[in-house]
Every structure is written in C-alpha cells, then in structure tokens.
C-alpha cells in the first residue's frame, strides 16, 4: 500500500517549482519579447515601446539640441551653398520669365504646397539610425501639432520618410532606409513610375522597382515622387539614377537610385499633411470593395 499522499505530491510540486520555476519565468519573458517584436509591425498602440514615447522623446530632444548646435557650422555651409544655387536659379528663372509672361507670380515651395491642398508642419529630427535593417526617425512634433500616421516627411534636399506612429508630442517615421518603406516614384521628364524600396546596405542608395521595360530613361535621370499615393505631392526630389539592372524575373527594370537626402545628417524637416488624403483613401477602398 504505497499510495502517495496528496501532501507529498504538493510538496514535490512546490519543490519542483522552487528549483526550476526560473525556467518558466525565462520562457515567459522570452515569449513577451517575441510578442513585442512581432506585434510592432501591425499594432499602432505600441508607440509607447518606441522612442516616440514621452520620456525617451524628451531625452532625445535634449541630445538633439546639443548635437545640432555642433552641426551648425555644416548646416551653415550647406545653406550658403544652397543659397548661391537658388540665387543663380532665381536669376535664370526671372530672365526666362520676363520673356514669357511679365506678370507671373513668384511662389516658394512651401507656398506652392499649401496652395495645392497640403499643410506644412515644420519639425526637427531628434533621433535617427542608418545601420539597422529597419531604420526609424523620431520627430519632435506629435498629434497635438496635427501630425497623424501616413503623412510624408521631407527636408530641403528631398524625401525623408513617412510618419508611422504618433504620440502626443512626438512621432515616429519610417525612414526611406527601412524594408517597410515603399514610395511611388516617377521620372522627372516623363510619367513612367516604379516603387522605391530599400534592402539594407548603403544609406545613400535605394532601389527603384517595377519600372516597365519600355520606359524611357537613362543614367543620371532625376527621380521624383509620383503623387499617386496621396502621401507626397507630385514632383518632390528623391534622387538620381545611378545604375540600371534587370529585375530577377526579367519583366521590369531594377534601378539603383542615389538618394538626394543625406540621412547621416538630418536635422530640420517638414511634415506634409494632405488635406484630401482621407477622401482619396475612402474612394480607393470603396473601389477595391466593389
């Protein structure tokens, strides 16, 4: 008659848990980590687990303030250079304009964008990375300033990325240097278009995929946003064609694009809010349903 008593079983179980319970804790924590990892892609509420949360945002904002002070010299140089270019361009344009129509209006980019149904929110980049497989950019404007997901981010040189998540005062944008980034682009001088992707490697180059085989272009051509996606207006600078190859299936071209934005020194940026984006999305969703 050696039936184990309940008491013994309980004690053994407790002993076992006491000695090996850390295995359970270990598995629990690993599962929690992996859940975080996999849900990040689809779960908007996880903004608290990114650098766009309040505390981390503030720390990065201070750090960015300090480092942008040290960058001032470079920024100054760039601005001067830019200024000279603009002056030259301005002069050339004025002269060209004089010949065509003497009473035309002058418009700045920001002004032109606002006229075209886009709102502009100036912002600063406070955190940025280049070398991860998926890079994100933290910006110091959030929902309180009118930022919402799916808005475009640009700077003086070209396209930077798309807003992904927003908290009250900060937002997280998908950089062009992210495997999730896909931006509809076209050539400046005609309307053949493709999708701009990034698959790791250099922070100065990206790939333009799905360009049809009959498209007309050559090396050095300028690539701009197509404006089809409602995130960016048409014609924003993206980069120039660096080299031309065939896609894996041979049905389209695969272009290496040299990005005009220097992601290694981002500071000032503009968030572009398209006023009619919701309307376009609703229309497109309806069309897909029917």
């Amino acid at each position: 008659m050696t039936v184990p008593r309940n008491n013994d079983i309980m004690r053994n179980l407790l002993n076992f848990l006491f000695n090996y319970g850390y295995w359970l804790l270990f598995l629990l924590l690993e599962v929690a980590s992996l859940l975080l990892l996999f849900r990040f892609n689809s779960y908007q509420g996880s903004v608290g687990f990114t650098s766009a949360n309040r505390v981390v945002g503030q720390i990065y904002a201070v750090s960015a303030e300090v480092s942008s002070f040290f960058k001032l010299r470079t920024v100054n140089d760039q601005l001067t250079l830019h200024n000279i270019h603009l002056q030259a361009e301005n002069k050339a344009l004025r002269e060209a304009l004089k010949d065509i129509q003497p009473d035309a209006q002058e418009e700045t980019t920001a002004h032109a964008l606002q006229e075209g149904g886009y709102d502009i929110i100036p912002t600063h980049v406070i955190n940025n990375s280049l070398h991860l497989p998926d890079n994100y950019i933290t910006l110091d404007k959030g929902a309180a300033d009118g930022v919402s997901p799916e808005m475009g981010v640009v700077n003086g040189n070209g396209v930077v990325g798309i807003v992904y998540m927003v908290s009250k005062h900060y937002s997280l944008a998908i950089s062009l240097l992210n495997s999730k980034s896909s931006i509809s682009c076209k050539f400046k001088h005609n309307d053949y278009f493709g999708y701009l992707k990034w698959k790791g490697g250099s922070s100065q180059h990206a790939l333009l995929e799905d360009v049809p085989r009959h498209a007309l272009f050559q090396k050095g051509d300028t690539v701009v946003t197509s404006g089809y996606s409602a995130v960016f207006p048409q014609g924003l600078m993206v980069g120039t064609v660096d080299s031309i190859a065939d896609s894996n299936d041979g049905l389209s071209y695969l272009l290496h694009v040299r990005l005009s934005t220097d992601f290694a020194c981002l500071d000032n940026a503009l968030i572009i809010a398209n006023k009619s984006q919701e309307e376009q999305h609703a229309l497109e969703a309806k069309a897909i349903k029917e």
Partner: protein
C-alpha cells in the same frame, strides 16, 4: 539593501543612456556595434537569485529597445544572457574561490574574467543579430557582425574594468 538597489538602478540608467546616445551610433567598419549595457548583468553578485537576474535582464533589454526602436530584440537577448549567466560563471570562475563574489578582474583574475565576458557577449550578440536580421540570406555577414560585435563589447567591458580597478 536599499543602497545596493540604488547603485544598480544608477548603473542601469547610465548604461542605457550611454547605449542609446553614444554606442548605438558606433559602427566600426559598418559591422561592429558594442552592446556595453550587458555589463550590468555580468557584474551582479554570483549568488544572486535566477529570478531577479532574469527580471533585471528583461527590463534592461526592454529599456534599450525602447530607445533604439527595436521592440523585443534586446529584451529577448538580454533575458537569454541573464538565463545563461549562472552557467557561464560556473564554467569560468576559479573553483577554489569564495562562494559569493562580484565577478571582476580582481575577484576572478584577468584571464577567467575576460573569457567569461567574451562568452557572455557572444551569447548575447548571437541572439541579437539573429533576431535583428531575421533571415539567413547573408550568413557570412551575420557571422562577421556577431564576432566583431562581441569582440568590441568585450573590449569595452575590459576597458571599464581596467579603469575602475
């Protein structure tokens, strides 16, 4: 008790902030990034309970993740490191030493401590790079990243130990 906790808490934040603001931006040859924050896990007393080790590891990793926009990646690898630390310590600590000690160049000797630190960073770095890339498309690049990152981390740990002595 409270003082020990505050000390650990202080180290925690110093290491996390240092990782976020400085070390995450270091990419030697485009491959090697030091993950010095694991120093905290390596320095805990030898007889610290496995439970608190795991919890510290997870929290530390999660804090680094939140700063670097890689949710779960550092948390998972730091938890793995915390889990394997008692085994690593048993492997490399001198057998005739005291029962309870804080692992350091002093208490273990330079050789054993460096072996312990490098093995720990290798475990951590392997898990980290695997989760970060999440594909076996470029095994050689991954291997290079793991080895160079672990080497650099060990070097940093050794440097801190050296200056603290």
């Amino acid at each position: 008790m409270l003082i020990t906790f505050l000390k650990r808490f202080g180290w925690f934040w110093v290491l996390v902030i240092m990782q976020a603001l400085i070390l995450n931006n270091v990419h030697f040859f485009g491959y090697a990034t030091p993950f010095l924050y694991i120093y905290l896990l390596l320095k805990f007393d030898a007889n610290m309970s496995r439970y608190s080790l795991l919890l510290w590891g997870f929290t530390l990793g999660l804090a680094v993740d939140i700063f670097s926009n890689t949710p779960g990646v550092n948390a998972a690898s730091a938890t793995l490191l915390a889990f394997s630390r008692p085994t690593l310590l048993k492997l490399f600590a001198p057998r005739d030493g005291a029962e309870d000690f804080s692992p350091s160049v002093h208490s273990m000797g330079t050789g054993p401590f460096i072996r312990y630190a490098s093995m720990a960073s290798l475990v951590h770095q392997t898990a980290l790079i695997l989760l970060l890339t999440f594909s076996f498309a470029h095994p050689l690049v991954m291997l290079l990243k793991v080895v160079s990152g672990a080497l650099l981390t060990t070097l940093c740990i050794w440097a801190i130990e050296f200056t603290r002595k």
